[in-house]
Symmetry: C2
Subunit: 477 residues, 2 copies
């Protein structure tokens, strides 16, 4: 314990804590602010996302691009000077999108732009041709009888809401991962959904059909928004609308991928404690994975690199984890949590970057109540960048979920998601959607938070372990 | 001649014309303004473009959609109450896009989003794999020797400029229609160009490779802008960049299509004179042909319909011509001009709508010098809608080109093209890109101009016939 920390500890007993206690010592604040300001001016983040997206590109779990991404990450992290760079092998599913042909055959012909959803089985060789039943919500779908749906195709035509928080996505993903379950229970042959995205361009939005890794039994297809409009217009004619579809989507054999890990080792008494900076290395196959999650990869690497090069080792170890297969089952996140179950208490806090390159606008957290003063002081360092103070209900991100459920506190730096779902999970997820200044602002926020977390005497406490499972049952709608 | 017109004619001899003569009588002005204001409030245009794009959709020359569009137009024009509705048969080429697979194979693999250009031959069955040579202009391409290009693929990486006038498109289309000619002369195996469009989305921009209907001898492919970026980045590595491509594009046998014609018959002494309102019925196959040229079809039909329903027949006949195959060789425009060669002098003026639904911002013309006072007076009726007065060098549009070259004057109503090339000739050309208010403003401008042209005593004179041919020779660059 430093003299400074001892003084603070003493102060916290002698004085009303809410008024006088200082959670973050001045020297840590000064250095955090210096890192923050340097990141705002420039960071290596853009070069990293450019290299990953241009030289590797699409990297869905189990694909050749996934393997290339692991090699790229090892090489890049070594070249940047990180320590303990290694790949922890993770077995991943390998689903192949194949080809898709989908068209209206009645009342008039029209082809549609669409994509198979992740995990969709293909159609029989001869395809499927059937009448369409349109609903606008999962509740409306549940209200249909077997008689109404059997032998037909369900069209769930929900328009995703555009929000800074991205909150509209939760409704849409629930339709994506549960709509086919509800439809299949009622004998439907396939489900077609309006893309779980806000793009007005002719690029369909993919994403996983899985919930709790239960395989889909009927094909699931997402239409570009303009194509959902075409189908909705045809339904308004009052005549029977028929679709014909053929998909060659299928599962191939599982492949070995890896979580790629690199460290900025801590120095001294707290060196065995770890601050996790997480992002995911995989991407969907349609784009080049720039905003999902090339920018996350770039942000956490750039933030850790700045701390590494700041002249002094952090007190705690900063561990960058580039998770395998976030998109299609969280393989890497689950594997990491299993592997580190016995050392979970050494994971003092985690930050994940997986919401694109929009400027960070909110700091939230899920930490022990008695550590909220640290978050509040951290917020004062972020506030000059226009970052609000959020609540203590942060999820921390999908890849940190298993660690959080095991008790690890998380900090959440919310990127502005207003435009995120215009590009996310579509062919449009490419480098040109990344704004350098916003990306640097993200690095500034992450480096500030990570530096503070790695260097203060106190920590964020522990969370109550939980094991909530959210199924496709109506009660979770 | 009306009493009013006789008075004007007298006045034009007695007084300095520029000061006192009135080209458009007050009663015509009053009625034109009433039509203009009614169109601004509402018109049938949106319903027309919605019906065409949703119920017919893609309609490239010779396709089943093309035939469906001709039936749609006949039915729609009859239903709206037009007279002399008929289809004038036109033989059109039928080029089929087939499939395209294009990917970088060295220095690292990456698939690319691209599309074959109209008229491209396919590749051999085994595809083409060759090293890439990148240039940024036609001049740079011409400067390459056979030694530098033979056996390679030419990549013309010109970034189209965004302009209200759409002027950047001329440079890009010249590269599209002449780049392959220059490259083939030097032994190149194929040409790849950056899309002749401004979209930042992953939709490639198609368009014709033909100039003066000379068939292309090597494949021509357009990359989406993001994909041209990927290729340009790979070239900067300094290593040899190789592309592999396979295309099944091909010509099928010619098909019969049609110019669809409908009239608002004139009444009285000038009824055998014709004011042409033109647009094209075909579209490229990637989108649903909303802005190119569904909106043009809608604008001219809606404008003519308003005049038809205004209570009194126009003095001249208003003829709506929906031309066949504008996109791939102007088949309908050439056929119409041939068919009407003997009556060309009865075509007093033409207006074409083929630049999307952006608000009209400029009135230009190509009329006899002594008719410029009519254009100036017409402008006073359009000015309240924010429309500027342009020059007397209007092209009048591609489909009116053959008539203009034969001496028919044209008026040009320029739509704001700032965003036009974000959607044009791509899969993104869909109904949701059409703004109702801007579309109505277009109808207002067209109905004003058409009403005036059909009802004034004077006409726009004649143009000097011309037969300029712009080839791929360097002198025309």
């Amino acid at each position: 314990m430093t003299a400074h920390a001892r003084l603070l500890l003493l102060a916290s007993f002698l004085l009303p804590t809410t008024v006088f206690a200082q959670a973050i010592p001045d020297d840590v604040k000064v250095q955090a602010e210096a890192l923050r300001d340097a990141a705002l001016q420039d960071s290596v983040a853009y070069d990293i996302v450019e290299s990953l997206t241009m030289e590797v590109g699409p990297r869905s779990a189990g694909s050749a691009g996934d393997a290339a991404a692991v090699r790229w990450a090892i090489d890049k992290l070594n070249a940047l000077g990180f320590k303990n760079v290694h790949a922890d092998e993770v077995l991943v599913p390998h689903w192949d999108r194949g080809t898709l042909d989908i068209r209206i055959t009645a009342p008039y012909p029209q082809f549609l732009v669409a994509t198979s959803l992740g995990g969709s089985p293909g159609t029989p060789e001869e395809g499927i041709e059937a009448e369409l039943v349109r609903v606008e919500s999962l509740a409306e779908l549940r209200a249909l009888s077997r008689e109404q749906l059997a032998g037909r195709i369900a069209f769930v035509d929900h328009v995703m809401e555009r929000k800074k928080s991205g909150a509209g996505y939760a409704v849409s993903t629930r339709i994506r991962s549960c709509g086919h379950v509800v439809a299949a229970e009622r004998g439907a042959l396939a489900t077609v959904i309006r893309s779980a995205g806000t793009s007005t361009h002719r690029v369909a939005h993919t994403g996983s059909m899985l919930r709790n890794n239960v395989p889909a039994t009927i094909p699931g297809i997402a239409l570009a928004n303009a194509d959902a409009d075409i189908l909705a217009y045809a339904m308004r004619s009052g005549e029977a609308v028929k679709l014909r579809l053929h998909s060659s989507a299928r599962y191939l054999k599982q492949e070995m991928s890896a979580n790629v890990v690199a460290e900025v080792p801590g120095n001294g008494d707290l060196a065995n404690e770890v601050v996790i900076l997480g992002a995911h290395l995989d991407s969907w196959d349609l784009g080049t994975g720039a905003i999902d999650d090339g920018t996350g990869v770039a942000i956490v690497i750039a933030a850790a690199k700045m701390i590494m090069e700041s002249g002094e080792s952090p007190r705690r170890t900063i561990r960058v984890v580039l998770f395998a297969n976030e998109e299609f089952g969280l393989s890497g996140a689950n594997k990491y949590a299993e592997q580190h179950a016995s050392s979970i208490d050494q994971h003092v806090v985690g930050l994940e970057a997986d919401f694109g390159p929009g400027a960070v606008w909110k700091l939230s957290s899920q930490v022990a109540e008695d550590a909220l003063d640290i978050v509040a002081e951290l917020h004062t360092l972020l506030e000059p960048m226009g970052i609000e103070q959020g609540d203590n209900k942060a999820s921390g991100g999908a890849d940190l979920g298993p660690l959080r459920k095991a008790g690890m506190p998380v900090l959440g730096l919310s990127a502005d998601g207003t435009e995120y779902f215009d590009y996310h999970h579509t062919a449009d997820d490419t480098l040109d959607k990344v704004d350098r200044d916003d990306l640097n602002q993200n690095v500034a926020a992450y480096v500030t938070a990570a530096y503070v977390a790695a260097n203060i005497e106190r920590n964020f406490g522990r969370l109550q372990p939980s094991n909530n499972v959210n199924t496709c049952a109506a009660e979770f709608d």
